[in-house]
Amino acid sequence: MSVDMIDIGRVDDVPLRGARLVQTAMGPLAIFRAEDGALYAVDDRCPHKLGPLSQGIVHGHHVTCPLHNLVIDLRSGEALGPEGGCVKTYPIEARAGRILLDVSALRRRGAA
């Protein structure tokens, strides 16, 4: 499995307890920065009705979808609650104040 980390911007450009978008050919990705600084990348599409997760309220390592309040665990992409559902997550890391995203995983998403 190849890894291809590319620099997508400064860590500080993503607000703490907030999110930014990254446009990709396969649709938008939401980049989250949790209260403790942890970064997460997930598809910006809620498993319920495709709500833009990047617009939700971030709390702990979770985000609440802005449309109908589904809560997603950003670490696993799993939705909490009985309805379940799952959103795809991507490898991401911070190095020297920059955000590195594994684009090979994005390509595999395209292929899948």
Binding site: G9, G18, L21, V22, Q23, I57, P66, V103
Partner: protein, 830 residues
């Protein structure tokens, strides 16, 4: 009663029973008999004489009968059936006029005679009548029994003026009740502050203010000189010459133990009938019980110690060992809407320390008095839910040093490791008394819950009377319900805001102020949030509470706002946004409409709709385009309509005197003025207004959060309507003569709501929770308070009346409106 059980066949062979005679059928002997019948059901033949022509009732609930909240039937403790079931002879309306100790007989004024082996004197107290000229004039009443209440209710029909002499517990309950019945009441109190025996001066002062807000006149330091009138009272003259007109005067200046009968029989008396630890008088066959008894130099005027006496006497009469020892007592004023509690000894004394908590904005006052590391007294006004807990600490005398820092905040915050009140209640023995007023123990409550299948507080009240009197044990009863029913019990008290905390919205608001918490992390830390970063439910609530509490000081936390309020537009189902510019009072112009049309063309906005709120909605705007759309709209003077916010939304108007042939006032102008004054303010939930030019009400003002109906004489101001999930017509708040007055009233109302509302609670729900009458009084009858509210509103507006669209069009929060990176070409290339 001829069915004397001693003579029925089943019992005829048993040894002859002793004869127990009781004089007085009040609350104390009623309780004593209940216990005695449990302990020794067969021991006595019992006869009771009662000067009142009725069964035993709950005297302490006379005030709710006076105010109209309860009927007499609801306060009966033992109905006729109870006496029959227990074979007790009850002489109703028989006053005993003689005790013949030599012959061991008593005789009533109607000539009924009973012989006794043992006699109980329980004649209670007599109200004190101050010996001023005119004190016996018709129209002067006391407050002691049902006949007094009936007479007061009759007198109140006139809706005239009443004077209550005495600002103690009884006097104030009479005052509130008479005011509730429509009388204009003045309380005349000799001491400088009200209820000085139960309250300290600060709490007494808050109480006086609360009564004055209800239209009651409070005169303290006032000495009555004469009761004026001829064949009926016409007023009261004070020492200083003032005269207060009155068609009814109630004297409630205190009570005196009723000892005449005992004295006449040669039994030893002092202030009361002197008794020993077993309640025995100087005659070993005679006992005294209740308010007429004096023990260790003290007499008692509250039911809790009297019930303790009742238990001891029942045991003594059942030939068991027991000894009376008076404990600390607690007082609660039973006036709906006024919360007041005091317990123990709270006088200043050397070696005592005090801890005081005040919240002037919401009239909360708490004082704890400590001595040798122990709580000895407390006075609470406003928020009294912790009273029972403090009272327990006083009674147990447990050291409080470890939790001294937080003691004043009550049980929930008292110790670093929060003690589990549930476990504490679970650990109580079955005999532990839960309801002090009605003497109901834990075992009786849990048994009733299980055997009667009770599921709520009302059920427990109906079946056991626990929590049915003064209500201070309600929290404990709820915990018992919870323990007994487990998961299935849904308590009526406010639940925690969300799973991150057990604290309800009210507690959190109170603590933010009391502990001066100024950031969300501070709140979470100080109030022991159970999650690290809160959740999507509590964070927006906290953000609002902090913003409303510390205007200008608190820095808004965008990440704790729902997306609509973060980006100042409404998110749509496809992730695009809608844009609703303000159209002041529903008015627009060619210039504004042209700007809107241009923006729609320029940004290819797919839908334009006229909203239900008299303005125009541009739907389907791409998020990235929002700042540019706003910039163009701003140029034509169009600003944010806050269609997305828990904030002032629309002010709908009709055309009013400008055009309409029926218009009585300039409804459009007032609507615009209101909107310009109120816009930008954040509120617990959205706020919508409307102003109609006449009662035809074309602006539908009577289903809004706040509505104004213009009439010839001015403005009728309404509030608490709803027309969304619920439909509810408004309530009238009051009348304003001028636009300025209308504005002041409405802004005052909105500020009160901003300070008291729970997050997401619309005005009609808030009004239901705190009471529309209370709100009306605070806003309409207390001009000073209203102006203070207005001043706080104006202060807060200084920090909120900047157009959020303009700020963002100028580049604020730019990260919201542009992607971090665009990888679409990169991916495509590979």
């Amino acid at each position: 009663m001829d069915e004397n059980p001693a003579l029925t066949p089943e019992t005829a062979h048993m040894p002859k029973r002793e004869k127990l005679v009781i004089i007085g059928n009040g609350m104390a002997p009623g309780r004593m008999l209940e216990v005695l019948l449990d302990l020794a059901p067969e021991k006595y033949d019992i006869a009771i004489f009662n000067a009142e022509p009725r069964v035993n009732y709950d005297r302490i609930l006379l005030s709710p009968v006076l105010s109209g909240e309860k009927s007499f039937e609801e306060i009966i403790i033992h109905g006729d059936g109870w006496y029959i079931d227990h074979g007790i002879t009850l002489y109703k309306g028989h006053k005993v006029v003689e005790i013949d100790r030599a012959a061991k007989l008593v005789r009533s004024e109607h000539g009924a005679v009973e012989a006794y082996d043992r006699l109980v004197i329980a004649t209670g107290s007599l109200p004190i009548i101050i010996p001023v000229p005119g004190a016996t004039r018709p129209g002067v009443l006391t407050y002691r029994d049902l006949d007094d209440v009936t007479a007061m209710l009759l007198a109140s029909k006139s809706r005239g003026d009443a004077v209550v002499i005495g600002g103690g517990l009884l006097g104030l309950e009479a005052t509130a009740g008479l005011a509730e019945q429509g009388m204009k009441v003045t309380v005349v109190h000799l001491m400088p502050t009200l209820m000085e025996r139960q309250l300290d001066a600060s709490a007494g002062h808050l109480l006086a203010k609360a009564l004055e807000r209800r239209g009651i006149t409070v005169l303290t330091g006032a000495n009555t000189k004469e009761i004026m009138g001829g064949t009926h009272v016409t007023g009261v003259r004070l020492e200083d010459g003032r005269e207060i007109p009155a068609s009814l005067v109630v004297m409630a200046v205190g009570i005196r133990p009723n000892i005449a009968l005992a004295k006449q029989a040669g039994i030893e008396t002092h202030r009361g009938i002197i008794v020993d630890e077993q309640l025995r008088t100087s005659d070993p066959a005679i006992f005294a019980l209740g308010e007429c008894a004096e023990f260790g130099g003290a007499t008692f005027g509250l039911v809790a110690p009297l019930y303790e006496m009742a238990k001891v006497l029942a045991a003594t009469l059942a030939d068991r060992e027991a000894a009376f020892a008076p404990a600390a007592t607690a007082t609660k004023l039973k006036v709906t809407g006024i919360n007041l509690f005091s317990a123990g000894d709270f006088a200043d004394a050397p070696g005592r320390e005090e801890i005081v908590l005040r919240d002037a904005a919401r009239d909360v006052y708490r004082r704890l008095v400590l001595e040798d590391d122990r709580l000895v007294g407390t006075v609470m006004y406003g928020e009294v839910s912790d009273g029972v807990w403090f009272f327990d600490l006083i009674k147990s005398g447990a050291p409080v040093g470890a939790m001294r820092e937080t003691l004043i905040f009550g049980e929930a915050y008292a110790s670093g490791a929060p003690l589990d009140p549930m476990a504490a209640v679970a650990a109580l023995p079955d005999e532990a008394e839960i309801c002090g007023c009605n003497g109901v123990c834990k075992g009786k409550i849990t048994a009733a819950i299980t055997s009667k299948g009770l599921t709520d507080l009302d059920g427990v009240r109906a079946h056991t009377k626990a929590s049915a009197s003064c209500g201070s044990c309600t929290g404990l009863v709820e915990k018992l319900l919870q323990l007994t029913l487990g998961e299935t019990y849904l308590p009526g008290k406010p639940a925690g805001i969300c799973p991150c905390t057990d604290l309800g919205h009210g507690d959190v608001r109170r603590l933010i102020i009391a502990r001066e918490l100024k950031t969300i992390p501070d709140v979470m830390q100080a109030l022991q949030w159970k999650s690290s970063g809160g959740c999507a439910k509590c964070r927006p609530a906290l953000n609002y509470y902090l913003l409303a509490t510390w205007p200008g000081e608190y820095k808004d936390d965008a990440q704790s706002r729902f997306i609509n309020e973060r980006v100042h537009a409404n998110i749509q189902k496809d992730g695009t946004y809608s844009v609703v510019p303000r159209m002041w009072g529903g008015m627009t112009s060619a210039n504004e409409l042209r700007a809107i049309a241009d923006v729609v063309d320029k940004f290819a906005i797919p839908a334009v709709k006229v909203t239900g709120g008299q303005r125009i909605d541009l739907l389907g705007v791409r998020k990235d385009d929002l700042p540019a759309v706003w910039r163009d709209l701003n140029r034509a003077g169009l600003v944010s309509g806050h269609a997305y916010g828990k904030a002032l939304r629309t002010v709908k108007t009709c055309v009013g005197t400008d055009w309409c042939r029926f218009g009585t006032q300039d409804s459009t102008g007032l609507g615009i003025r209101l909107e310009k004054f109120l816009w930008g303010s954040w509120t617990p939930a959205k706020v919508k207004l409307a102003v109609s030019g006449c009662p035809r009400n074309c602006a539908e003002a009577t289903c809004k959060d706040v509505g104004v109906i213009c009439i010839d004489s001015g403005y009728e101001i309404h509030f608490a309507g709803a027309a969304g999930l619920d439909i509810k017509g408004t309530e009238v708040l009051g009348h304003a003569k001028t636009e300025d007055e209308a504005l002041e009233i409405i802004a005052g109302l909105i500020q009160l709501y901003r300070e008291q509302g729970y997050y997401l609670e619309r005005i009609y729900k808030w009004a239901k929770r705190v009471g529309t009458d209370t709100i009306r009084q605070l806003i309409m009858e207390d001009r000073e308070r209203r102006q203070a509210l207005l001043a706080r509103f104006i202060h807060a507006q200084k920090f909120s009346q900047t157009d959020p669209w303009a700020e963002r069009a100028m580049g604020a929060e730019a990260h919201e409106f542009s992607p971090l990176a665009d990888l679409s070409r990169l991916e495509a290339a590979q």
